[in-house]
């Protein structure tokens, strides 16, 4: 039987440094495979009606469209670490797009939202928490630690005590 998947939701333009290896390590620790949902930023919330179905990006396909570069980087990094990955794309960054995806694709063990999506302008905190309420799996959001983000990888990080849950 197939392993469960860790669903990682990302904007295609998200800088991948560190993000992907984090998701891979976590998936390994949880004995899950990776499933990545790339959501396109919509300019007005009305455009993303959320009824759109996600489509799978054929990772073997050389012409994977505008995601070509990031998709190839993702596939390579996953292959290197022995984690299976499936990549999907959907046309709207709305909560319902994520929710539809969870319905469309079973076997998701947890959801991880990339830092940019986590602070998306098109998803309100209320919508986000409603998503968590309706979903049977746990949803986690990522944020870059400010100092680390600013120094870009130089040794140095901070512990914002206000962030602890």
């Amino acid at each position: 039987m197939e392993k469960r998947n860790l669903l990682f939701v990302l904007y295609p333009e998200e800088k991948l440094d560190g993000l992907l290896s984090y998701a891979i390590d976590l998936a390994k620790a949880r004995d899950e495979d990776l499933c990545i949902l790339m959501v396109n930023k919509t300019d007005s919330p009305a455009e993303g009606n959320g009824h759109e179905m996600a489509r799978e990006i054929n990772t073997g396909d050389e012409k994977a469209g505008e995601y070509k570069k990031s998709v190839r980087a993702i596939v390579d990094e996953c292959k290197k670490s022995g984690v299976q990955v499936n990549i999907f794309t959907v046309g709207a960054d709305s909560v319902s797009a994520i929710e539809n995806f969870l319905k469309q694709k079973g076997g998701i063990g947890m959801v991880l939202l990339g830092p940019r999506l986590r602070m998306s302008e098109n998803i309100t905190a209320e919508e986000m928490s409603n998503l968590a309420k309706r979903s049977s799996v746990h949803i986690f959001g990522m944020a870059r630690r400010p100092l680390y983000a600013i120094t870009h990888g130089k040794e140095g990080y901070c512990f914002p005590s206000t962030f602890s849950v």
Binding site: M1, L26, R145, V165
Partner: protein, 446 residues
């Protein structure tokens, strides 16, 4: 018992080095200088793991892999590939290799992979479970410094003379398996068997036959009558992990066993009576599983006579430090290193991380750190870079405000660190200036 490993490698120096290192790790290791030699050894002896170079004169690593799969041996295969030959590595994975490693490789990486297989083998041995755990593994340590874990331990103590079914809830990796064992081995049934099965990893047919057994001829492949776990667990405890992954029809069948202690083997006509205590675990949100119709409500009520909810590790941070020390002591003997403790900096990082993978994730992080650490203390350098880079939080459905607050606090810190440069802050956060402004303002409102 130490795992038996066969290494097939035609480069003599690499072979010698691998044998030596893995022996140092406590494994029983044999070497083969080429594919033919390896095949002879596989045919005459059983090995838990084969580590094989993909390129060897005579017989290649892939051909060895194919032989192992054809004979349906339970040997796991790790393939060593040359630099830049991802293609052949992928081919090996497709053919059923457990993993691959690219030359030149880090020996620690290889050791990690071997350990993974070892863990898997141990787990699998319990899951197929026909070697019942009569009385073994009685010594169970549960680290509990936080109030919530202490409460759970005293609860377990309080129910040690009760025989009620128990439902364990909590995210994956919080320790439900461990708690199930503890409940069994402190109960009146401790001399009976403890059997565990993970309902998420088996297909419906296999799960049905594992649980209830089958009659000879019940389906193709049922060459002999086989007892199911429910029968083997008689007078003991059956632990059903991830029970909500069970199909509705199996849940119905299980309900009958839980209610009446009676069931039929697959294809059987005679009803079998057993005396089994059930402990079940769920790592998802029970209420929404019931609402979605994925978990039967009647079964839920039968199982949760007692419900124990184990909080995620990030909600009981007091446990992080003692757990880290415990895992350090647990894994140290396997690595022949002298590490005394953690540096304060390393411990601070651990204490401030959110562990979405809970205790299991912490355990992995510590074991990895032991492998990588060269100093007599675990330093922050041997902790994964990523846990220093990111803050992970749960999206909490019960508290919308925290999400806004979180965003505000976070945005504020970024703005502050950039000397009040909002344009730069917005850029860094990947949002527009307007939304940054909204986030800062809305935070103020709440």
């Amino acid at each position: 018992m130490a795992l038996k490993i066969l290494i097939a490698e035609d480069e003599a120096i690499t072979l010698k080095h691998l044998i030596y290192t893995l022996q140092q790790e406590g494994y029983y290791v044999e070497g083969a200088g080429d594919g033919q030699d390896a095949l002879r050894k596989i045919e005459s002896d059983f090995f838990d793991i084969l580590i094989a170079d993909i390129k060897m004169p005579g017989l290649s690593g892939i051909e060895l892999l194919e032989r192992i799969k054809k004979e349906q041996l339970e040997t796991e295969v790790i393939i060593i590939t040359g630099f830049g030959s991802i293609g052949s590595a992928v081919e090996a994975m497709k053919k059923g290799a457990y993993d691959y490693i690219t030359k030149p490789f880090d020996i620690d990486e290889l050791i990690l992979r071997v350990k993974k297989i070892e863990d898997k083998k141990i787990l699998k041995g319990e899951n197929t479970a026909l070697k019942a755990l009569f009385g073994v593994n009685k010594k169970i340590s549960i680290i509990a410094k936080s109030e919530s874990m202490k409460k759970i331990l005293s609860l377990i103590e309080n129910i040690n003379d009760s025989d009620c079914n128990v439902l364990l809830t909590g995210e994956s990796g919080v320790g439900k398996n461990l708690i199930a064992r503890m409940i069994h081995f402190t109960s009146k049934r401790q001399d009976g068997p403890f059997l565990a099965i993970n309902c998420a990893t088996l297909t419906e047919e296999i799960l049905a036959s594992e649980l209830f057994g089958h009659k000879r001829g019940a389906f193709t492949g049922a060459v002999a009558t086989k007892k199911g776990l429910a029968e083997v667990a008689d007078t003991g405890t059956l632990f059903l992990d991830e029970i909500a992954e069970m199909s509705p029809s199996l849940q119905a069948k299980l309900l009958k066993v839980v209610e009446e202690g009676e069931f039929f083997r697959v294809g059987g006509t005679r009803s079998i009576k057993v005396d089994v205590r059930f402990i079940a675990a769920i790592n998802q949100n029970v209420k929404s599983l019931i609402a979605d119709g994925r978990f039967r409500e009647d079964l839920y009520y039968r199982l949760n006579v007692m419900e124990i909810d184990t909080p995620p590790l990030r909600k009981r941070r007091k446990d992080i430090e003692p757990l880290s020390r415990y895992f350090l002591q647990k894994y140290l003997p396997g690595y022949n290193k002298k590490i005394k403790d953690f540096t304060k900096e390393a411990m601070d990082i651990l204490k401030n991380y959110s562990f979405p993978g809970n205790v299991r994730e912490l355990e992995n992080i510590i074991e990895r750190a032991i492998i990588l650490e060269k100093k007599p203390f675990i330093t922050s350098k041997s902790l994964p870079q990523t846990i220093k880079m990111f803050h992970i939080e749960t999206i909490d459905p019960s508290n919308i405000k925290t999400i806004d607050e979180f965003n505000m606090e976070y945005a504020k810190q970024v703005v502050e660190m950039l000397g009040d440069n909002k344009t730069k802050a917005a850029e860094l956060l990947g949002i527009s200036r307007t939304s940054l402004w909204r986030i800062l303002k809305e935070g103020n409102r709440s």
